[in-house]
Subunit: 257 residues, 2 copies
C-alpha cells in the first residue's frame, strides 16, 4: 500500500535570528483560531506554553492520508483548518466512512498502539500534531485537559450511536436529511452560516458515510430538490428551503415529502 501522505511542516514563521538560547514559539497555540472549541479549550497561558513545546503544525493536501489503519499510533491531532474523513476498509475495497472532522475536532485515539481507522484530507487540511508520549506527560500535569479529551470522546461515542441508528434503520431519504442536519449543527457549533450549508465532500464520500451508493445519493438529493425541501447552490452547497420538513424527514416522521 503506497503511502501518499504529506508532511509539510509549517510552524515558526518567526525569524530565526533574534532569540537567544532556544526558539519556542508559544504563540501558535495562543492565537489558535479553533482553540476554544478544541481539546485545548480552557487552558491557561502557562499550560498552552507547555503544549506549544510539543506541538507541530502540519498541512495535508486533498486526497492525501494523515495516517492509515494499522499505523503505529504515535500522535494525536487537532484539526485547525479544512475537512478530514475517517474510514475503514474491507479487503475487497468496500469502504465505510466513520466520520467527517472539521476545525476544532481531534483525531488519533487508539486502543492498542495502532490507529483503528484511516484519516484522509477531504480538502486541504491544517493540523496540529501532538506526539502521544509527551502529550500524556503534559496531560498528567493538567488533568482538565484529559477531562476535556474524555468529554470529546464521549460526544464522539454518542455520535457513533446515532450513526448506527442511521445505518441500521433509516431509509435513504432519512439518511440524506440526517446528514444535512449534521452538517448544519456542525457548522453552527463553529459559528458558521447554517443555511447555505457547505458540502465539501463529493457524492462518493457521502455515500460511503451513509451506507449508500453515489447513484442513490444523487437521486435522493435530486428528489428532495424536486420536492422543494432543498436547493443546490454554486460550489455544490445546499440551501435548505424547508427546515421543518428536513427535520421531520431526518427523524423518520415523514413518509413522503
Amino acid at each position: 500500500m503506497a503511502d501518499p501522505r504529506t508532511r509539510t511542516l509549517a510552524s515558526k514563521t518567526a525569524p530565526e535570528a533574534a532569540p537567544p538560547k532556544q526558539v519556542i514559539d508559544f504563540d501558535p497555540c495562543m492565537r489558535c483560531n479553533v482553540r476554544e472549541m478544541s481539546v485545548c479549550a480552557d487552558l491557561t497561558p502557562d499550560e498552552l506554553e507547555h503544549l506549544a513545546e510539543i506541538v507541530t503544525d502540519q498541512t495535508v493536501d486533498t486526497g492525501h492520508a494523515i495516517f492509515s489503519e494499522g499505523d503505529d499510533a504515535g500522535s494525536l491531532f487537532n484539526v485547525t483548518g479544512g475537512v478530514v474523513k475517517l474510514y475503514k476498509l474491507l479487503p475487497d475495497g468496500r469502504r465505510q466512512i466513520t466520520g467527517f472532522l472539521f476545525p476544532g475536532d481531534f483525531l488519533g485515539l487508539a486502543v492498542n498502539e495502532q490507529y483503528g481507522y484511516s484519516a484522509e484530507a477531504v480538502e486541504p487540511v491544517k493540523l496540529c500534531r501532538f506526539p502521544r508520549v509527551p502529550l500524556e506527560r503534559v496531560m498528567d500535569r493538567y488533568p482538565h485537559m484529559k477531562a476535556r479529551l474524555f468529554t470529546m470522546a464521549s460526544n464522539e461515542l454518542a455520535a457513533a450511536q446515532d450513526q448506527m441508528l442511521l445505518l441500521g434503520r433509516k431509509t435513504a431519504r432519512e439518511r440524506i436529511a440526517s446528514f444535512l442536519l449534521q452538517l448544519q449543527s456542525s457548522a453552527k457549533r463553529r459559528g458558521q452560516p447554517v443555511n447555505p450549508v457547505r458540502l465539501p465532500m463529493n457524492r462518493g464520500d457521502i455515500a460511503d458515510f451513509l451506507g449508500l451508493t453515489t447513484e442513490t445519493v444523487s437521486r435522493t438529493i435530486s428528489a428532495m430538490k424536486r420536492a422543494g425541501v432543498i436547493a443546490l447552490r454554486e460550489g455544490g452547497n445546499v440551501d435548505v428551503r424547508d427546515q421543518d420538513g428536513l427535520d421531520a424527514i431526518a427523524a423518520g416522521e415523514r413518509a413522503e415529502a
Copy 2:
C-alpha cells in the same frame, strides 16, 4: 411511555443489628466477580472501600428497563451478571440495538445530563450502581480510575466504528459471522468457553443489532448451518464447526461458503 423498570435493591446481606455507628460493607467490591475486567480493576483496597461507600447493588428482570433514552443521567452502572442491551428508537418504532453488555462492562456515560439510549435486561441482570456525583468525587481522588473509564470508552468507540462498517457495508452473511465472532471474543475476554458460544438474545434482538429482520437472521443462520460452518446446540447455543471459514466470511473475504 410506561416504565417497567425494576429496582430490587439487594445489598447488605449482613445483619442490621451488630455493628456500631455506621454499616459500610466494603466487601461487595472486594469479592466482586468481575472486578478485574471492569472499571474497578487495579484499585487498591483503600480505593475499593471508598467505592463501596457509594455503590448500590441492583437486579433487573428480563425485558425490564434499566433506564430509558432521555432519562436524567444520575448514575453509572457496572454489569456484574447477565446481559444488557442498549438501543435507540425512531418515532415509528424502528429500533437499533447499539450494543450488548456482559459482566464487566459499564454503562451510563451521558453527554448532556441525559442518557442517549435505553438499556434493558436481555436476561436477569445484576448491576452495581454508582451515583454520578459522588463517583466523580471519588474519581477525582483516584485518577487511574478515570483513566480506566477513558480506556473503556475508547474501546467502545472502536467497537462502534467496527459496527458502522458492519451496518453500512457488510452483507447479511458477513454480519451474522461478525456477530458470532464478537460473541466469541467477548466470551474469551471473560474467560468463558469460546466454542459452543452462548446466544442469550433472541432473533429479533440480533436483527435489530445487525440492521436486519428476524426472518433474514433466521434464514442466514440456517444457511450457515446447512453449509457446515456452524451447528445449533440446545438452548440456542451455537457450535462453530469451521472457525477459519467463519473468520473469512466475517472479514468479507469469502463470497460463498
